[in-house]
Symmetry: D2
Subunit: 417 residues, 4 copies
């Protein structure tokens, strides 16, 4: 186990930690530690919501999550010698739930994690027009595998990864984000759920900042929800053990932060809180490519090489969606978002014929290692997206056959009261 | 080799074949053959353009392709006992280029194929605002692998598949398509390229229809470009050897057709004519699941199980894109199309640092077995898409390193004169 | 399709071909064609027995195979510029059964192939002490997959490859082989089956040799059964599409030959005629590494890179064997042969609990894409070998469960009369 | 983390633990804990030698290892309800090195492990006639990957597994082993290294046995080196995370034990101490199939399903060996042991051309995730074995090319003084 450069006392909130992390993006959040190119080290993480969700059979906590508190990040970490224009090279050496003496504790990551469908009134999700209420599934960890009492009949190996990882933005970049996102919000300011989240001083956690800086970060800091040029909440499931990522550096020291660990997640993380959420640890190795952004033509987003220890599933049942809203029989022009939504809805309808509720199927697709692919994006007017569901995660034969599906009682997920 | 139920004389156009296929969708195109559940048979195919492109170093032919002639399909084939509401089960037993005594002939599929970037004025492509002119690459087949004099330094194993495969629409479905797509077209009727293609009598090929039916099919028949409820031009690269597909049946006999064979294609087929296009053959096995649409909750699109003989690539260089138009610094709300476009542009910029032209890189990404994934689709406002480029297809080490890329002269693709 | 440098009229025996191949190894067999480094070309092949086996339900033909006639090879092919000490680089571009207009013909490779268990009195096999009689299974080809009426319940994708591929031996090497193998034979000269096969003039086919040379080749020529320094009958299943092999060159021109095409084979080819045997074609690309043997420390056997289009099976049921003869409770010292035999016997006993006969299971393990691994070879006194059987090839769930196996009638293989 | 049913204080020898394990097989070693079908629990393990090897640059400790002390096992664990004839179902949920606050400690498993070549005079190894002296390599752990200062230029992902896992033998089985192995020893009693190891009272550790039982176990107990009917030292590398193993049960309670954790190992574990040896932990789930041995035809060895999180390597350089002793030009009859030895020697000669010493290459092949396959086992007189070396573990391009290998100084492994 490498040295721990950021430790968490899981019995306390992020704000109460001896060295707290942060939940906003701002160039002036002070680095909590400095590492050198070539270093290997461990970072401990808090669950993204700062542990607002419990291991129980009610979805009330998911319904009531306070989103002004998210995402709780560990960092920032300064890298000696990093300058704007460099590429920060990060290797993910290992990652996992909270190591703890007991199998199960109160905190997500202590032997369990959760997947939530957010209510439309509180953030929503990819299918919020179809599933507007809050639901939850608790997943139990069995080494590298997970099962759920709320979604029986499946067991799968997680592709564990940090949902959120980024370098700090420069002041200029931050200003641009705020301007750009405000312009979008302004196109439909009262929308529920909103188009984007503007800076929100309430519940901002600003790391080790002190004095006036605290208030300024809270006022200016970008929210952590979207992925942006620096990385951010990319939710790329293949950013797992053995992965190497090349992040653009925008400030001296790079000042990277991370969090939102996922035991497992499907492509798209469609329920919004779609991964199996948890606290835990991540072991990293860092290096630099000096001047790497110009050398490799990187102007915006990171480049990465995916991890090579993903679970070896080889047989898939795949669902197709096209950019047609079949509910209204309306065509959307090469819209991959609509196409993937239809693929998800098609998968859910299929799973319902086996006895799952729509909510259970939705929770399953958010968290299991499904692949979401853009198959055709030029055949006007219809984009074509496909969803690959590994058949080996089911403890029954889920493939179509002449006899039809075996519909049985498959319990239910956690609901609100 | 199973019996041939549809044969092509590659020296003649589709219209001149003894039993011609068709290039429009219509329920009344007569079946050219009837097969039974359990049958195995071979279908021969013409290149999608009816061979408008030559094995040469000029992109003029791509620039001048007449799109009213596409896609040339083989079929329809009736399946004994198929009725609306069934699922047609299709196994792809084998698929390949035109078997021919000589290594290279004049027709695409005779030892070679092509990838084209369409000009913005004639159809365009996914990056048409960045690459508005026509370009071409010729690929030489070496068994299951391909190389190109126009994109040197790469060699890859194709995931060969039919770009287009579908059952016939019912009259009602067809009427709905025409209405739905007209509504879209009407939102911006003069757009170049157009939002969608309405029925086009000119150059319609209507199979073995005779008399008034010919004119009616030509007038009413839906164009073959988009994927739709029945399958269609889905361009799913994993619909390859060993794949099993479950198609909805809309008319008695199912009356399925297919064509647009691709030696290889990347997810998205981003150059529009992005695959390695060719004529060839496909061997099929068919079966039925009676009443399968209701049994399995299939209301619209096909379900499939991908083939299990895809090339075994394991190391990828991956590019991230988010739903921001960085050219104008504009946010798009959870728009996976924009996000994937940015991932493509990022990959192209990277490849340019090694000496490829942007057009070469674009042609490469359209045809090589890249994967395009929807990684995050709920993190407002930015969708996150990723493009996985297998590193093993390059004959040099394409991964980033501290020394920077080795830029060298990598020739050029075919251009217009 | 590349140019054919060796063509077969499958209605005639190898001896009757316009340009016949050969069935013995000798440096003086004349080359039938010359190719150049960089060339791509096709070679057609006869089934290894010269078509002594038929598509029927009797194993009499397997029982009566005349082994003095095997293996019928295509070649030799001279490579321009090849000299002793070079490495001949061979790429397998494509390989397959006999292309033929009809689905099924009389010749193995025309839509079907066979697997045989040889009788102990006529060659035997790996388990000949347990299965001393002759048996046969006919396999039907469905594109890249195979099924058998003699082994129902399985369907698998073949890893198609040439069982036999080699450069010509030098005169010195040939002399050494004959001396070395005679020494072994002499240790138990009357053994049934024999320890090795000495040169056998009877039924020798000597290519285009004429005059006295014919008799000399027949008298001196090494038999083709074993693998040797030059390659030979290696039966490496992963020598498939996309593979690259580096052969030592022992004579000017390299003079390589090949044959014994297998539609599919398990590691070990345990029934002796264990693969799915067939005639067919193979497309090759050749090149040279001048002085490669010394450069790369190659003194004896070939080096190769396996093909990258093997079927993607990911779940296996694996059987362990150790170097103990449990029938007599006798320990053998680190004997991997005994260990693998026990693993095979263990797998057969397992499959018998599901209703297969031992002979059916033996035929299955010889031909399906199983992996045979040497797991432990140093833990005195017991070697440990393991056999990996892909579970996805069965149309039922073959994994152990608490309820026990579902034993049912699974027909029978072809037997002798 | 599941409950720990066997804990190790790594600062103490196995004998000194509060609840010690054992290093001999005997039915009367008392169970240290009882678990129930369905339980999940953790077992901690000591390095197989009880920590006789240090993290330094001398191979003296490997040379001087006292083999009477091995293998230090954790257990036995009784399973409630297990009876002779059952199958014990074991799932490996997780496995890893010693979790410890500091990156590196004194004990193998605390951030590092070792691979040793044993001297011929002290156990030997697979190539002991070629490499008769002791050598060592220290490997540093980087999450799931390993590197070595003694074998620079490689970095690979471990397939972590327990080398040794077994149920307790019945008294009858134990008696049979001792008789069977004595018979082998007696065939060449003075051989160095010995053919097998008889019971050895010296340094026997007998768990929690007391009184006369201690002496009896020490006198009768079978040594732990070989794999046997109950499992034992099988050294199957694929017995990793996600694996499920079905062990025969020979005594009431099954009484299974395990140890000899390997961070990584190649097929064959050819240097004897060929894996990367370490202490650590393993998390298990157990279940029973009542009467499973008869149900599934299991009379001797375990059956297993390999883990599904092995590193995803896809490109291999493969070496062939046949059952000929080329040093003496002697044929061995279908001897897979000789064939695999030649494949190993061929691989070593190849690696030497790049600048590695033979000892370094030998250490590499013992510990890296290579595959060893039995390719042909029926082609008299020569068995054919193949060794698959993943090319992606090298930080240079190790494939043959026309220019020849790049020979450079690659340091040296630890040697004796």
């Amino acid at each position: 186990m490498p040295k721990v450069v950021f430790s968490i006392d899981q019995s306390k909130s992020m704000r109460e930690q001896a060295v707290p992390g942060h939940n906003r993006w701002h160039p002036d959040i002070p680095a909590v530690a400095t590492v050198r190119p070539g270093d290997e080290f461990r970072v401990e993480c808090r669950d993204w919501t700062d542990c607002q969700v419990g291991n129980n059979d009610s979805a009330n906590d998911v319904r009531d999550i306070d989103l002004t508190q998210v995402h709780m990040l560990s960092g920032p970490f300064a890298v000696e010698g990093a300058e704007p224009g460099d590429l920060l090279v990060v290797d993910i050496l290992d990652i996992g739930p909270i190591p703890c003496p007991e199998r199960t504790g109160d905190v997500p990551g202590q032997g369990w994690g959760y997947t939530g469908i957010f209510a439309k009134a509180n953030g929503g999700g990819f299918l919020t027009d179809y599933y507007p209420d809050a639901y939850k599934a608790i997943w139990d960890f069995h080494g590298v595998q997970a099962t759920s009492r709320h979604v029986p009949g499946v067991r799968y190996t997680g592709i564990t990864h940090p949902g959120l990882f980024a370098t700090a933005p420069s002041a200029e970049l931050l200003t641009g984000w705020n301007r750009r996102e405000k312009a979008l919000i302004d196109t439909d300011a009262g929308r529920v759920p909103p188009l984007a989240n503007p800076p929100e001083p309430n519940n901002a956690v600003t790391g080790t900042a002190t004095g006036d800086l605290v208030e300024r970060i809270a006022r200016e800091g970008a929210r952590t929800v979207p992925p942006r040029e620096h990385g951010g909440n990319q939710d790329i499931k293949n950013f797992t053990r053995g992965a190497r990522v090349f992040f653009p550096v925008y400030v001296t020291g790079a000042n990277f932060s991370l969090g939102d660990l996922h035991f497992s997640q499907g492509d798209g993380e469609i329920t919004f809180c779609g991964a199996i959420e948890m606290g835990g640890f991540i072991d990293l190795h860092v290096d630099l490519i000096k001047g790497g952004m110009a050398k490799y033509g990187v102007t915006t987003n990171p480049i990465f090489m995916p991890g090579n220890v993903e679970p070896r599933y080889s047989e898939f049942l795949s669902f197709v969606g096209i950019s047609v809203d079949h509910d209204t029989d309306t065509n959307h022009y090469l819209d991959a978002t609509v196409a993937y939504r239809r693929a998800c809805l098609n998968a859910i309808e299929y799973l319902k014929t086996w006895g799952y509720s729509g909510e259970q199927a939705y929770l399953l697709l958010g968290s299991a290692p499904i692949e979401g692919r853009i198959s055709g994006i030029v055949d006007i007017p219809n984009a074509c997206c496909t969803l690959y569901l590994p058949t080996e995660i089911f403890d029954f034969d889920v493939r179509p056959n002449a006899d039809g599906p075996v519909r049985k009682d498959r319990g239910r997920c956690a609901v609100t009261s």
